[in-house]
Subunit: 339 residues, 4 copies
């Protein structure tokens, strides 16, 4: 049973996911495409034999669409996701779920009212083999209770449009999601401090930043976000428990010895680093939709949590490094909580 | 355009490739299945909505079959491949291409007579990301001319049915193929010597074995084959050139520090080690067939070469470690040679 | 010219340094020993053919003593060091230089009045080959200006007598000294936060602790101190600069593959981890004294700085994690400063 | 009790060992020096307050000399060692013990006649921390019986005076000694094969060479000797046993990430690689002599064995790669054997 996917937003990331759904992952076809730029929608749709539709609403309503993929501009996400829920169709929404906590909560409420989970948010790290190995090790209990997490998220460079709040909203948000899942624990406070800024940045940007999160269980996370580190795209994560630690591996790469050096290359592009995670994310999502199952990936609630935690981080940055309590509602039983 | 594949041989490896073609790789469907065990063929075919056919010949002839996958018992490979060539259909044949050099040559001749390459042999290492990185490094010339290759091929254990000649025929054959490709050079002699045998083996088995190959360019390859190494499935490869060396990476795995040790797990199963290589192998084969292109993977000639080289290794083993010259025909221009 | 050393304090560390001066390092002999326990002094002195003297003052005054080594109980350090300065004799003082900032300043003043540097404080990490390699790399400028330092200092366990303030005073003090030297920068604030405590500790102890230091140049240091990590003695240090990072190596250790694991041992004892650093520290100190040169190791000023910085860290711990400004005098020109 | 050492041969290696005995290792002094170049002897002796003597014989006879260090030209070693045995004085002889098997046997016989071991041969790898860790692991039996050893011995370059036989005599001889000790097994045959030679060599030199040794226990050793590998001085050793393997570590070195690479430096000089091994070698030798104990390092017998094994390797090289049986006498009980 092929899952017929309608794609809202045919920009770079949308086109990459279309390629994934049509060329990499089995069991899916893209039957409809819409974009704010109708010409682009038409062109992309023609390339893959899909129909270009004028609006997200029409695409969601189309009888040729079994499931919806939202890859449009962030501020439009909430509307499309709410429409998909209203139509009772599974919807995969690229991060963020919505740009405000209020909109996230509206989605959460709508989904609870629907009574079945329909929404998956596009945090792909949970599908990375390294993080999954870490979770496997932690879940055996052999390292005892987690106490501390050290992370780094480094990009070689970012464009001038990247501003200081994006370090939390666009960059750290990946660690926020994956660590909540990895630790099976909730983040309750955030603090952002700024070391000396790199001189290789644009003047408006505070880079690097150090983010410190605490969980309800008392785990302390420090995360270096350094988006102009020059040397490569480098993701580090180490969880220290009572009896030992586990560390995310670097990607496998050939070792070369020449000219008095022994070394390996460092990847430059996040798309290369998480290429397989993206593939696995969509493979599992498509398989779940095909089976009529609720999604097992990041939920609406996870999308909401990521938003309120990044909000707290941004407030900390703006207030000069105060520790800011995360303003999160109690987690409903529908999403595995006790409220 | 979906490639409709007919599968000859529905045993363990056949079923795994059927899973790959139907669940992992896009662009293909399995439309027909045959097996020496008609019940098994029927059962597997039913599971995926394919037709069970009584013989390979009928399957190859079926108008519902665009391309043929041969995963039957080794001694039957040649007949099916020759039939596929006669039918002008692309055929992917699991290793070995044929069990004798003579049969390999018959295939080579038939394919040349057909005038287009139709055959790909299932040596999957050329599709492994690590080997591909090695080839990329070597092809830049930054390490100078290759001089020496050190390899190890270790399995945790093998069943009692594994006999000493299989170290070359079933195990080393993977290195033989991938090194010919990696070095872009031909193997001209083979020698097999036997160190003290492990006491953890069956009495009939000479394990480990050291195989030494020389290429026409003078590169010397040593390969440790140790199929009862107990600790894991471990593949090592290092090419030493005039200006440096390049080494195959171990698979990425989380590092754990606990109980006075810092370590990572070692894989136990070759199917895990080369899972992605298998996927890539079929993804590229299907894409090529769909495009009507000649295959770019291991050719009939490569299958023939692997057979005559393993023959030489087995002769060396049987003669107590003599260096045996590989008895290979000149490579025809059709396969990139000068003959 | 053999340097005749008098040793004040013949406890465990004193005896280890006596062994080092007599058996490992050339150019020195231990001619006099004193200890609060006169019997122990007599026994140790007899073993090496030295004279046991009743007090530190008499030892310092002895014509058979060219240089003084202070390894007595911390609160007595200041008195001995001041006496040695008064006698114009070189003095190597194990950490701490003194237990209060006031006493450290008295030493600093006395040394300045003397007009030549006589004092070296026993911070041995500056003599570790790995840290020296880091400093060499940083000093080339190839990594740009340092921005962030990540450190961890882990011990397998500590005895019950270890209390929470010792995490700064006894443990982190090593990083405090070596990072001031490595960065050639001064620490201006300290903050100590406490994650969930390990359940493997004594109830009175806050362990682990995270210490955050800022330098006058804006570098931000985070240091995990975890003295009951169970798995080993593990020292990590990574300096992130504008163009890349440099990381302290783990000690070289054989790799073993067996039983499905690939691993190396983790040291358990700090004395093993820094054995060579201690040797180098004394080798260079003895050579300097023999040459009549001022010491090049950690100075009185460094001992004072370490004390006021650990004071700030302890205050932060006691006030629940406030950021505490380090109360340090301006650095006199005598110690390379501008005051 | 200071050991008074007389040094025969004040060239580069002699001067380096004099520095070691006077500046690094405690418990020794150099009291007499001789050299074929009397001016050089006088100059070196003056520098350290020793006496220059005209001949080795006079130096050995001197009442100011407790023990003898032979670092003269190889062909003179046997005479000096025999003289030292005749004088009943401990003698440390740099490799080779003698340049012919016959001369080695004369020394062995003289020492047996003396009735106590006096001779230690300067194979320093047995004192390297990494090899010692390997031996410790192997001796636990946790890896089962050793079956295979893979080694590489690479130098960045060698001068034009280096000829093909020196690959065995000067280079591989270190592995020959350390592997006999590591495996506690005897080498019984040698084979040397020559891959394509590097174009970065002098025309007369066969480089690299692969040496294959077999032990009486059936262990098979392959050793790549590549003395113009360009990239650095690199020593590799891996012992594969029935239940796992152990591998010599690379020297600890800081890791650097910059410019899209993650790497460490590779040492260029064997003196740096084995600096600590040399120090330990002399520290233990001096301590043994001071204690009046027989030496525990490589014996006359080990020097003889190394010579006959390298002879076999050279014969194999000269005969085009034949496997040559090592022509070794039975090991006398005096040296731990059964003859």
């Amino acid at each position: 049973m092929t899952v017929r996917v309608g794609v809202i937003g045919a920009g770079m990331i949308g086109q990459d996911h279309i390629r994934r759904l049509t060329e990499v992952v089995t069991g899916a076809s893209v039957t409809a495409v819409t974009d704010i730029d109708a010409d682009r929608a038409a062109e992309v749709a023609a390339r893959i034999g899909a129909t270009a539709l004028p609006t997200g609403a029409e695409l969601i309503a189309s009888p040729d669409v079994d499931a919806v993929l939202v890859t449009s501009w962030g501020p439009t996400h909430a509307e499309h996701v709410l429409n998909a829920i209203a139509a009772g169709k599974p919807v995969f929404c690229e991060k963020p779920l919505a740009t405000t906590a209020e909109d996230c909560l509206r989605i959460v409420e709508a989904e609870r009212a629907h009574g079945l989970r329909l929404v998956q948010v596009g945090f792909m790290r949970r599908f990375d083999a390294g993080y999954r190995q870490m979770k496997e090790v932690l879940s055996t209990g052999s390292l005892g209770a987690p106490l501390i997490v050290h992370c780094a998220h480094r990009n070689p460079t970012v464009p001038e449009s990247y501003h200081s709040a994006m370090a939390a909203q666009d960059t750290a948000v990946h660690e926020i999601d994956v660590l909540r899942w990895l630790l099976d624990d909730e983040i309750v406070s955030a603090q952002v401090v700024t070391p000396r800024a790199t001189s290789k940045r644009f003047a408006h940007l505070k880079d690097p930043q150090i983010m410190i999160f605490e969980t309800s269980g008392g785990v302390r996370i420090d995360l270096e976000v350094f988006v102009n580190c020059q040397y490569g795209y480098d993701i580090q994560c180490e969880v220290v428990g009572e009896d030992g630690l586990v560390r995310l591996p670097d990607p496998a790469a050939v070792g070369v010895r020449t000219a008095a050096r022994h070394g390996t290359g460092v990847l430059q592009d996040w798309k290369d680093r998480f290429a397989e995670a993206f593939d696995t994310e969509f493979r599992e999502w498509v398989a779940g939709v095909a089976a009529g199952a609720e999604p097992t990936g990041p939920s609406s609630w996870d999308g909401y949590a990521a938003t309120v935690i990044t909000d707290a981080a941004v407030r900390s940055l703006e207030t000069g490094g105060e520790t800011v309590t995360v303003d999160m509602k109690p987690r409903p039983a529908f999403y595995g909580g006790t409220a």
